[in-house]
């Protein structure tokens, strides 16, 4: 019986290349060195070129006066505010368009995705035309096209003037113009808190009611008319409290003045165009994702649900969609990220998102290209990571629970 030779070969330099145990280490060290070298070269080159141009690297410009006006802001802003404030206005506008866009795109996507699988030939074809039409044209063109359609087809505010006005307000309250949508806006009088509290309470009651209804259905199989109860709870208590308090919340209606409608609320057409275009575009992708998700659920599930006597709509909402969600959600995250990043095309229609304020006018007026671009990239990175983590959390909650 011979003993196994445990003698270890002494380490030689050549083994770094020849010995597979060390070779990968060598490659990694070289890759790291190359990476550090490249980064150092980029940084040094940038610093040298900046100093050659007589520019320093500083973010103090964020504290200086912006000097320009922004038409739609979610927080108070005047041209005396700082560039930092202008950037904040832009950030909020970006987040607004992202939330609005993701919401509408999801609704459209689910609807069209389901319709594309419809047994009705015409409906399915129309959905297919929508998907292919929007998916295969660059979103920038859609943004510009929708902007142009609003600009050219909607009436100017002056068309609402005079005895024989060629345009009139919807229900005397909404004015669709080629500048945007003018609409009534709530004005809060004394005691408005109570009305809002009532509203929040009825929302809580609706949630509670739905839970009760579900439990009851699981226990007894009895289905409560939850929709009508919910609708009643939604409107009745608020209107009642509002009437009892003598109407603390009133509506301010837009009124046509010399140039524009004044008063009420105003949604800029740039926001409308961008919102519609981004939603329709991303909606077409989401429709395909939804369709794929539904098709991924075995046909036997539908048949089994039908055999149980469920109606087609309930089959979809109770059996198919919950299972399809597992397939749908991961690619949906990418679409939300895409929509958010695509919102930086807002500049094409003059919507003042963060790309247009910080990365547009501020950058142009202060000449801080590098700083502004770094801030912008950081912002989009943060927002994207935020959306990802929220959606991943949601994905985990709908994922198949292994028991």
């Amino acid at each position: 019986m011979t003993s196994i030779d445990t003698h270890q070969e002494p380490f030689r330099l050549g083994m770094l290349l020849n010995d597979t145990r060390y070779r990968s280490l060598t490659i990694q060290v070289f890759a790291l060195a190359a990476f550090i070298l490249a980064t150092a070269w980029l940084v040094s080159n940038t610093v040298q070129n900046l100093s050659a141009l007589g520019k320093d690297f500083s973010f103090t410009f964020l504290g200086s006066r912006a000097g320009y006006d922004i038409s739609q802001t979610l927080v108070p802003y005047t041209n005396n505010s700082t560039h930092g404030r202008a950037a904040l206005v832009g950030i909020l506008n970006t987040i607004l368009i992202a939330i609005l866009g993701c919401a509408l795109a999801t609704v459209l996507g689910v609807l069209i995705g389901v319709l594309r699988l419809s047994g009705n030939w015409i409906v399915a074809r129309i959905a297919a035309v929508y998907v292919e039409g929007f998916r295969n044209v660059p979103v920038l063109l859609w943004i510009i096209a929708i902007m142009a359609i609003i600009t050219e087809s909607a009436p100017a505010p002056s068309a609402f003037r005079g005895e024989e006005a060629s345009a009139s307000m919807l229900f005397g309250a909404f004015a669709v113009t080629n500048r945007g949508l003018y609409m009534p806006w709530p004005v809060l009088g004394p005691g408005w808190q109570l009305v809002v509290l009532t509203f929040l309470a009825s929302l809580a009651a609706i949630v509670f009611l739905r839970r009760q209804a579900r439990r009851r259905q699981e226990e007894t199989g009895e289905i409560l008319p939850i929709f009508w109860l919910g609708t009643g709870l939604f409107f009745v208590p608020v209107l009642l409290v509002d009437a009892l308090l003598g109407g603390p919340i009133t509506l301010d209606y837009p009124v046509l003045e010399r140039f524009n409608f004044a008063g009420g609320g105003f949604v800029d057409k740039a926001l409308l165009a961008l919102w519609l275009a981004l939603s329709l575009y991303t909606g077409s992708y989401i429709a395909e994702i939804v369709r794929a998700g539904i098709l991924a659920v075995p046909r036997g599930q539908t048949e089994a649900a039908s055999a149980l006597g469920l109606r087609p709509r309930r089959v979809m909402s109770l059996v198919i969609l919950p299972q399809a969600l597992r397939v749908i959600v991961p690619p949906l995250i990418s679409q939300y990220l895409n929509l958010t990043k695509n919102s930086s095309l807002a500049i094409a229609v003059g919507y003042m998102d963060v790309r247009a304020t910080l990365g547009g006018i501020t950058m142009n007026q202060t000449g801080r290209e590098l700083e502004c671009m770094l801030l912008l990239m950081g912002f989009y990175l943060l927002v994207s990571l935020g959306i990802s983590s929220v959606m991943n959390w949601y994905n985990a909650s709908v994922a198949l629970k292994e028991r």
């Binding site: 060195a33 550090i36 070298l37 150092a40 070269w41 980029l42 940084v43 040094s44 080159n45 610093v47 040298q48 070129n49 050659a52 141009l53 007589g54 520019k55 000097g67 320009y68 006006d69 922004i70 038409s71 041209n79 005396n80 142009a148 600009t151 050219e152 100017a156 505010p157 002056s158 068309a159 080629n178 500048r179 003045e257 010399r258 140039f259 524009n260 004044a262 057409k269 740039a270 500049i347 094409a348 003059g350 003042m352 247009a356 547009g360 006018i361 950058m363 142009n364 007026q365 202060t366 000449g367 290209e369």
Partner: protein
């Protein structure tokens, strides 16, 4: 062991930076083409003609520059830029010479790192409104929606003007002149504001120019001129003196047609120095002796360029006004050539 890497990186970076800030003149001569930033389209100032050849007031200065440096006014690569992209394009070296109705301001000159090489058009910001609105003064625009080109000084002047007069407005920021005009003509904004020369140029392209009035208020000083990157004094000097040569040429009656003849026959020492028949001004600038002759022959002297593109008799129909020679009561004045 990390030290050599850092040293190597610094050296490599230094070399690259050195190459990036090489003399613009040499680069232009090596490439045999002048990269010139111009407007994306403003009637009379910059735009392609029906044959696709770039023409206009701002374009003419690019051509004169190319003629002076490369001896051929067609050795220009025109890069159309919006108000927003122009400075980045110049700073990054995408263009060598920016002639795009750009206002000379202190911050642009100092903080943005550019050198303005002179003024080729003294302008001011004005408003255009449809005549049917019955507005006679910009101070009556309270509550109006105003279209502006974003990334310009007009944006800041507008904010200042309305704040100073205590009136409000709704700004609609737009990227290019043509998009702004589309919005304005569709009635999406009540007024459009930009440099008065731009307004006159745009109004000339309207179907019914008389349906639109340019309000009397000029709310700012807008000295428009070409600019180059800071830090290359030789290139800035060339740009400055090509512009001066065109202005001086008008003063001395040198035109595209008679420039060669004047160079040979003129007895005026200033003209002889300018046209390179005497002294060595071209050599000092790093150019050929006949640089000014070439520059003037390209598109004519300042007055000829003005008359051909935007002057009275063209659709733009701008009077010389402040832009007349100093001898005619204007502000166009070239320092002496000696």
């Amino acid at each position: 062991m990390k030290h050599p890497i850092w040293i190597a990186a610094t050296i490599a970076g230094g070399l690259a930076a050195g190459a990036a800030s090489a003399q613009t003149l040499d680069a232009v001569k090596t490439n045999d083409v002048l990269k010139c930033g111009v407007n994306t389209g403003l009637a009379g100032f910059a735009g392609p003609d029906p044959n696709g050849r770039w023409v206009g007031f701002d374009v003419a200065f690019c051509r004169a520059m190319a003629a002076a440096v490369l001896g051929d006014q067609d050795k220009v690569q025109f890069v159309p830029l919006t108000g927003e992209t122009r400075f980045t394009a110049l700073a990054s070296g995408e263009v060598d010479y920016l002639s795009r109705n750009t206002t000379w301001t202190l911050t642009r000159d100092v903080d943005l790192g550019f050198t303005f090489i002179g003024v080729n058009y003294y302008d001011g910001q004005g408003f255009i409104v449809p005549a049917e609105l019955g507005v006679t003064s910009a101070t009556e625009l309270d509550g109006a929606t105003v279209c502006i080109q974003t990334g310009t000084t007009t944006e800041l002047n507008l904010a200042d003007f309305f704040a100073a007069n205590g009136i409000s407005y709704d700004p609609v920021p737009i990227q290019t002149n043509s998009e702004a005009l589309q919005q304005y003509q569709a009635g999406a904004c009540d007024a459009y504001t930009t440099d008065a020369s731009g307004l006159a140029a745009s109004r000339a392209t309207f179907e019914n120019p008389d349906d639109h009035v340019i309000l009397p208020e000029i709310i700012s000083k807008e000295p428009l001129g070409p600019l180059v990157r800071e830090g290359d004094d030789q290139w800035a000097d060339i740009g400055r003196w090509v512009l001066n040569a065109l202005i001086a040429a008008e003063e001395y009656g040198i035109t595209a047609e008679n420039a060669a003849e004047m160079a040979a026959s003129s007895q005026n020492p200033e003209i002889r120095r300018l046209l390179g028949s005497e002294s060595n001004l071209g050599e000092i600038l790093g150019l050929e002796a006949d640089w000014a002759v070439k520059a003037i022959q390209a598109q004519g002297n300042y007055g000829e360029i003005f008359a051909a593109n935007i002057g009275e008799g063209t659709p733009i129909n701008l009077a010389r006004g402040l832009n007349a020679q100093w001898t005619d009561g204007g502000l166009m004045y070239s320092p002496p050539f000696r």
